[in-house]
Symmetry: C2
DNA sequence: TTGAAAGCGCTAACAA
DNA sequence: TTGTTAGCGCTTTCAA
């Protein structure tokens, strides 16, 4: 690997001149620029980003923390972030919490050690004291995606209008005559998005003077496995819900699996909806009512806020709330099932 | 941010001693170890990985190149890789080619600049001359996942038995009476997995003395959009296929979308299969015949090979071929549609 | 067992 | 406009 010294020697100039040419310094004679570029070409020199980063105090790297990359929503976000950040010459250092709040905290500290220039954060649990502390004291700018962190006042926030969206979706179910609605959610209260969704759900119920038994709200880790178990619990209820709303995508997968195994028909046997809009939702037969949003816009907004902060263009943190759209589909179109779904013995 | 000097001063020792304590050097007095650890705790010191990396020549970072993180298969691989590598104290630097072969090449060079200690590679196009050159001359070990690169003889390879799997799946279709089979694939010949799949497909046909018209093989970028177009082209054929095999997951999504829009019923109107097994495949109604494999095993194998190479335990590159399993499902269970599917005017 | 010193490759400040 | 010098924070000789 050629170093800057090799290039300098080859061009017969000082190392600093090589830096100047490559970083686009204004005062460089065309002659010198010429010779340096030629030497760079000849030697195939590429700067060592570790060394440059150490010296400069910035690594041209952005840390991205996601709760679970398998969630297609988050995969799409990471994809869009990567493209956008790369366009600004930043690489993405990915940290995946894998559903474990302890890993959230580790991730922040690890990314700091890697001297990432900024953080984009979609943690599992934003309420952890250590996490709040770690983010609050972050020496680099932070953008929260669908999260808010108490005391972390310098962070910008990009989120979607989960509350309004979920309220609208719930109203839609109520209008279709459902009064017993099951609700699958990740751990309660651990994310802003989760709380807003829940608030929207409850608001719609309260508008109609409805109160659900607590057991209709199933909270667990947001994985297909737990989603499946939670669905089983709902279906086994002596008075099972006539509709189920799955919040996180992975729980939708588990729910569909359980319905499939029991032979309960989506749409006719039970109404079903999701609070995000992954491909499974619209490809399912019948298609599943869902809340959709522009994920590219979400990621671009987050990346732009971070880059603007890093470049010094933006001094104050901002909060951006993006719209969500209710997609009414066949899974909620049928009239309410006449009789309660019978608990099935074929479970699992 | 406390540096090693701060810790050394606080403990009244030399910086080198701090390093020794923290890296578990054998000859350290308990007294000194004690004092250093106390100072570390008190100052909240965390080593700067850029500086350590520069000095040591290794960044504790592994570069992972994926063609498209939105593909649930690749998302799952990245997830599993991250968990496994983190357990060995490596972080993942993610590079996403986004379906663009030019970005493959950039990714290799960028990751090299970041001084990643190793590379795990699932590029878009393994046949690009620049890419082959870049990988061949990689100063760090490379593991190819579902790829092979000519001249890159030091790289280990982890792949699945695509040829056998695809042949078996195709036989299954033939056994069900299908003789006109459409085949959706990404760009032809650009990956080992793609070539093996195609070889398996053709082998099964040849066994039966069948030859398909070229237009039944639809090759394009592996995205839902192109998958949808390719499906439309197949359905608009004067003699449309009675079965369609989608290779890449994103093309399956596009295919299902087109079928849905045209109201062609999967299973009865047309048989359908996929060469991987994403959640959509088994959740679709009717469920879709697919080839499944243990993705965790795949990722763990790749990570282990890389780590073993890095630690010096493994001197020679290895090739590991993992099995694939045919999941026969309802999408291919119905008898061959009696009449050819009529080209529809409702296309798009 | 511990410390002092050198240097990884780069860039920024200062001089010329 | 260009070169010289110093040093980012760490680890690794080498010496004590």
């Amino acid at each position: 690997m050629a170093t800057i010294k090799d290039v300098a020697a080859l061009a017969g100039v000082a190392p600093a001149s090589v830096t100047r040419v490559l970083s686009g310094h204004p005062n460089v004679s065309p002659r010198l620029r010429e010779r340096v570029l030629e030497a760079v070409r000849e030697s195939g020199y590429k700067p060592d980003l570790l060394a440059a980063g150490l010296r400069r105090g910035s690594s041209r790297t952005i840390g991205v923390i996601v709760s679970d990359i398998i969630n297609p929503l988050l995969a799409e976000v990471v994809d869009a972030l990567e493209v956008k950040l790369r366009a600004h010459d930043y690489s993405v250092l990915l940290a995946n919490s894998h559903g474990d709040p302890a890993r959230d905290v580790e991730a922040v500290s690890l990314l700091r050690q890697h001297r990432t220039d900024g953080l984009i954060v979609m943690v599992v649990d934003e309420t952890r004291a250590e996490l709040k502390e770690a983010l609050r004291t972050s020496p680099v700018p932070v953008v929260l995606l669908d999260r808010t962190v108490e005391g972390c006042d310098d962070a910008s926030v990009v989120t979607s209008d989960h509350r309004r969206g979920t309220r609208e979706l719930t109203r839609h179910l109520l209008d279709a005559g459902h009064e017993r609605i099951g609700y699958l959610t990740g751990p309660l209260g651990t994310t802003y998005a989760g709380r807003e969704r829940m608030a929207g759900f409850l608001a719609a119920l309260h508008e109609r003077g409805l109160e659900l038994p607590e057991r209709y709200i199933q909270s667990s880790r947001a994985t297909p496995e737990f989603g499946q178990r939670a669905t089983a619990a709902l279906l086994d209820d002596p008075e099972p819900p006539t509709a189920i709303v799955a919040g996180p995508n992975p729980m939708l997968v588990g729910m569909l699996r359980e319905l499939q195994e029991r032979g309960v028909m989506v749409g006719t046997g039970i109404a079903v909806a999701c609070l995000d809009d992954p491909p499974i939702a619209f490809l399912h037969n019948p298609a599943i009512t869902a809340l959709s949003r522009d994920i590219g816009e979400m990621a671009d907004t987050a990346a732009s806020l971070l880059v603007a902060t890093l470049s010094g263009e933006m001094r104050q943190p901002r909060t951006v709330v993006l719209p969500m759209h209710l997609r009414r589909r066949a899974s909620t179109a049928a009239p309410v099932p006449a009789a309660p779904v019978a608990p099935s013995a074929t479970s699992r």
